[in-house]
């Protein structure tokens, strides 16, 4: 019998949950700690991912290719980077949400440098995170981090685009559910 990677991941998940459940029953410390770590992330993902994916689906049917191409595509120019960074700063859920959004943008005609800027900026300039950072480590830390990183992110993204284009790279299409 062949087991698909999908099913395999579900099996891993089942085994892991069983391990956590047994750990809690037997008060096995490492298992309890891992269970708590799991809960920390799972709680957020369970709340954020379903609405995020509904929005991605709506984006898919409504967003016009020409509009995306104009603002994030070949002809977008410097302003495209500003849009990408603004979109990133307001993306809830960080990279977990940014990956599927970037993929959807790409298949609507956004260029590599824009989606790479978007993903990277989504992990660097999330507004709520940055406010917390400034409160704990000081505004100077946050200011230096953001001001130094943004130009590097744009330059890095342009470099990645050149590399990917030279490789004639295609980003996978995520659509059908594999059976």
């Amino acid at each position: 019998m062949k087991i698909s990677p999908r099913t395999r991941n579900y099996i891993y998940f089942g085994l892991f949950m069983a391990f956590i459940a047994v750990s809690f029953l037997l008060k096995y410390e490492p298992g309890v700690a891992m269970g708590n770590n799991f809960y920390l992330f799972a709680k957020d993902m369970v709340l954020i991912l379903p609405p995020a994916f509904i929005l991605i689906g709506l984006f898919d049917v409504w967003a016009k290719r020409e509009v995306i191409e104009k603002h994030f595509g070949e002809t977008a120019g410097a302003r495209g980077f500003v849009w990408s960074i603004l979109l990133a700063a307001t993306t809830v859920g960080g990279t977990f949400v940014a990956f599927p959004v970037a993929n959807a943008l790409y298949h609507k005609g956004a260029r590599y440098s824009m989606i790479m800027t978007y993903i990277t900026a989504a992990s660097l300039v999330m507004i709520p995170m940055s406010i917390m950072e400034a409160a704990i480590l000081g505004p100077k830390f946050t200011a230096v981090r953001i001001l130094v990183s943004l130009p590097l992110v744009v330059i890095g993204s342009i470099f990645i685009e050149k590399l990917l284009l030279r490789m004639k790279y295609r980003i996978p299409e995520v659509q059908e559910v594999q059976k």
């Binding site: 998940f13 993902m45 977990f96 830390f141 990183s149």
Partner: protein, 160 residues
């Protein structure tokens, strides 16, 4: 978080009023994409839970290096290998700074924590492809190193 739900609800409603069939189709696409990626997200959660358990002690132990550059390297490697929600990462960073860990080391750690994701690979490769994922993370690692050094200059920890 509540904002996300309000925005989603409003947009679904507006979309529904504008075009019922398109809306249903869009939601179906979203559900399909979600179902396809869900097992990868679950795998990611398991990896995070396990790795976080093993690295928490290492972070406190290895970031307070005497040698700043080794400290940055340790911070960046641990930051790349782990993932933490901000409400854990920043208080931890605050504790590290109080213990005298250099700002540039903390910067290398938090920047790679957010930008470089070894653990997020199972999800990222589905959307960016394997090579795209590796290249993006590689470039991010270099950028994080520059940020850490820049932080050292601004805080007077590196003398040029």
């Amino acid at each position: 978080m509540i904002g996300l739900y309000i925005v989603t609800a409003v947009l679904v409603l507006v979309s529904f009023l504008a075009d019922r069939r398109k809306t249903v189709h869009g939601i179906k696409i979203g559900v399909k994409k979600f179902r396809k990626i869900l097992p990868n997200y679950l795998k990611l959660l398991i990896l995070i839970a396990i790795v976080l358990f093993f690295t928490e002690g290492l972070i406190v132990r290895y970031l307070g290096q005497e040698n700043g550059l080794l400290g940055i390297l340790a911070g960046m490697l641990l930051g790349s290998a782990t993932m933490m929600p901000g409400f854990i990462a920043y208080p931890l960073a605050g504790v590290l700074v109080e213990r005298g860990v250099l700002y540039m080391v903390v910067a290398g750690f938090v920047t790679t924590l957010m930008m470089v994701g070894v653990l997020t690979y199972p999800v990222e490769k589905e959307y960016m492809g394997a090579k795209g994922t590796i290249i993006r993370n590689g470039v991010s690692f270099v950028i994080a190193a520059v940020i850490a050094l820049a932080m050292g200059v601004f805080y007077g920890e590196v003398i040029l």
